[in-house]
């Protein structure tokens, strides 16, 4: 491994380079790529939990936490800076993730998914109903923040947020890779195959999962903050169950086996939705649904898996 770049890492590097360069030629791609990167960060969190064999159907709650952190700052304090927003979004979602995590890591599989869903639906109904604080279903506008005290024109800003998202995405991608390769990450993976053995080794499975869960909540929050800045709005929809479903969808689409799957999936998902909504406004959901079915039935390891399968067959594997 050392001294040689794995093909998947090469693909990841090409992807990040492409998202840095391509939008310079097509202006509207700046926002598209920024969204892909920001959502990819959230999905990284899902991929992380997938390593432990757990699926959260309520992860949108952290996404919404991050987004509303930025929104509340704008509404009650005013002004703001991208870095402050991202940092605060990360902090609030980490704290929230820790609180929820203490409850949910006691459960596995469907019960884990269900309890996450339950928590996220409570948050969603609160955001929707606390009209006087949250503006209800319409959400709160997020005014364009500055960066390092500079403020930007709209044309410049879309690139600023793109490159901020890119840097955060690269950091998150690298960080998650390192985490998964670390002893803690191996323990997380061990949970999927044999949790009991983990306990025999003297590790607390709950603690291992809790660490993974909090990191994943942190990533969800950061991604949510970025999306709210890109969209300039935070709405309760950010925390609805369909949003959580979408994140899991993207993770499976990209492939849960590798951190890069998060970005591959997000790119595919956003592009299909973007172009389908533009050209086939009546049937974009249908198209996404069919894409998902095809992936699940014929390429269960996602887009990443496709490449690996191709690579294996070329090397004369099975």
């Amino acid at each position: 491994m050392a001294g040689r770049i794995k093909p998947i890492t090469a693909v990841a590097i090409i992807f990040f380079l492409a998202s840095a360069v391509l939008p310079l030629f097509v202006a509207s791609w700046a926002t598209l790529f920024a969204l892909i990167l920001a959502k990819g960060i959230v999905v990284l969190g899902i991929v992380l939990l997938l390593q432990a064999g757990q699926v959260s159907f309520g992860h949108a709650m952290f996404f919404a936490t991050g987004a509303y952190t930025a929104a509340f700052w704008g509404k009650y304090i005013g002004g703001g800076d991208i870095l402050i927003f991202v940092a605060l979004g990360g902090i609030t979602s980490t704290v929230f993730g820790l609180i929820v995590g203490l409850f949910v890591v006691r459960y596995r599989e469907i019960f884990f998914g269900m309890l996450n869903l339950a928590f996220s639906m409570v948050l969603w109904s609160l955001l929707e109903k606390m009209f006087h604080y949250t503006n209800g279903a319409d959400g709160i506008r997020v005014a364009r923040p500055g960066l390092f005290g500079f403020s930007f024109t709209p044309e410049t800003f879309q690139y600023v947020i793109l490159y901020v998202s890119l840097l955060v995405a690269i950091a998150a991608f690298y960080g998650v890779q390192r985490y998964l390769d670390s002893p803690l990450g191996h323990m997380l993976r061990a949970m999927k195959s044999n949790e009991t053995r983990l306990e025999y080794l003297g590790m607390s499975a709950r603690r291992v999962l809790l660490i993974g869960y909090v990191i994943s909540a942190f990533l969800g929050g950061i991604g949510g903050t970025l999306v709210s800045i890109i969209q300039q709005i935070a709405t309760p929809e950010f925390g609805f169950w369909t949003k959580s479903g979408e994140f899991v969808f993207i993770a499976i689409l990209g492939g849960g086996a590798h951190a890069f799957g998060a970005f591959a999936g997000a790119a595919m998902f956003e592009c299909v939705r973007f172009y389908a909504a533009a050209h086939l406004a009546d049937s974009w959901q249908l198209i996404l649904g069919v894409v998902l079915i095809v992936i699940i039935l014929y390429a269960p390891n996602g887009l990443i898996g496709l490449r690996q399968r191709y690579g294996q067959s070329r090397r004369g594997g099975h």
């Binding site: 997938l50 699926v55 409850f103 006691r106 459960y107 599989e109 469907i110 019960f111 998914g113 269900m114 309890l115 869903l117 339950a118 928590f119 639906m121 409570v122 969603w124 109904s125 609160l126 929707e128 109903k129 169950w241 369909t242 479903g245 899991v248 969808f249 499976i252 009546d282 049937s283 974009w284 959901q285 249908l286 996404l288 649904g289 069919v290 998902l292 079915i293 699940i296 039935l297 269960p300």
Partner: protein, 299 residues
């Protein structure tokens, strides 16, 4: 709140609970046997409602009383056609694979059905109130209720509850379903076709969702997106009860229906929050649900 209002709230709660029960029990049944959380359940509910409305708008011109059988026929058609399709072509290839994939493929089915519904029935609200109008109103403390909502719906729900109990506990087909649920390998060994049991259960569950939709169709406008709300509500009910618990689902639906009605009378702002808050509280204390037992499957 005086006793008059309390009685009104109870009536409202019961009629709401009846509909919620019908949809949730199908979800619960499917999970109990197939171990699949069917996200497309809400879409089956919506399709049932739309097809029932289509049928009853046509048949009402012959005789309005024929709309009742039309509701039933519509739900069976949806259960067999859509339910059968989802089970045969989407779920069957995935049995034995990751739970997540099974769940996600029903999510894909949900997206597709949501879209198809718009393409088939359009976006304008559809309303077919014939069955509701045929039955007289009844007056309780000077407040009018439709007997469709306070008598017929709860009646169907109770009949479904006891029908399912009887079917599972007293008939051979029911015994076979229970056997497969308890131990798939052993039952396959003694010659039970587990694949077929899965199909039949899924179709029954799907028909129940469609029946819920069909029965709701006379009381509500059918609009795009009606399925997405129903799925999470019925999921909350089924999970609070304990997935796979039929009687438990009935009691939980009643509990949520009544709480919701009282909340609307007393603190309407908290209406949406009720089922989810209840779900969190129950799952925190009893992750297997109010009526679920650890590791023991019971349907």
């Amino acid at each position: 709140m005086n006793s008059t209002l309390a009685i009104l709230a109870v009536l409202d709660g019961i009629s709401y609970a009846a509909l919620v029960f019908l949809v949730s029990v199908g979800l619960s049944l499917i999970f109990g046997v197939l171990r699949v959380v069917n996200v497309a359940h809400g879409s089956l509910y919506a399709f049932g409602a739309y097809l029932a409305a289509t049928f009853s708008l046509v048949i009402a011109q012959v005789s309005p009383w024929l709309t009742y059988p039309a509701l039933l026929v519509a739900s069976i058609v949806i259960g067999v056609v859509c339910g059968g399709f989802i089970e045969r072509f989407l779920l069957r290839p995935l049995y034995g694979r990751d739970d997540v994939l099974q769940l996600l493929i029903t999510f894909a089915a949900f997206m597709i059905m949501d879209n198809l519904q718009r393409l088939i029935w359009g976006v304008q609200p559809i309303f077919a109130a014939e069955p509701l109008k045929l039955l007289p109103n009844i007056s309780v403390f000077g407040v009018n209720y439709t007997s469709y909502q306070v008598i017929l719906l709860p009646g169907v729900a109770v009949a479904t509850l006891f029908g399912l109990r009887y079917f599972l506990r007293k008939t051979l087909a029911g015994a076979v379903i229970l056997a497969v649920t308890e131990d798939r390998e052993a039952s396959t060994a003694i010659g039970i076709d587990a694949q077929r049991v899965y199909s039949i259960t899924f179709i029954i569950g799907a028909s129940l969702a469609a029946l819920g939709g069909a029965l709701a169709s006379p009381t509500t406008s059918l609009v795009p997106g009606m399925g997405a709300d129903m799925i999470v509500l019925s999921f909350a009910v089924a999970a609070t009860a304990g997935l796979g618990q039929i009687e438990g689902t009935a009691l939980t639906a009643l509990m949520i229906g009544l709480t919701r009605a009282f909340v609307i009378y007393l603190q309407p702002e908290f209406e949406v929050l009720v089922p989810y808050l209840l779900m969190v509280l129950v799952l925190l204390v009893r992750p297997f649900g109010l009526f679920g037992a650890v590791q023991v499957r019971k349907i």
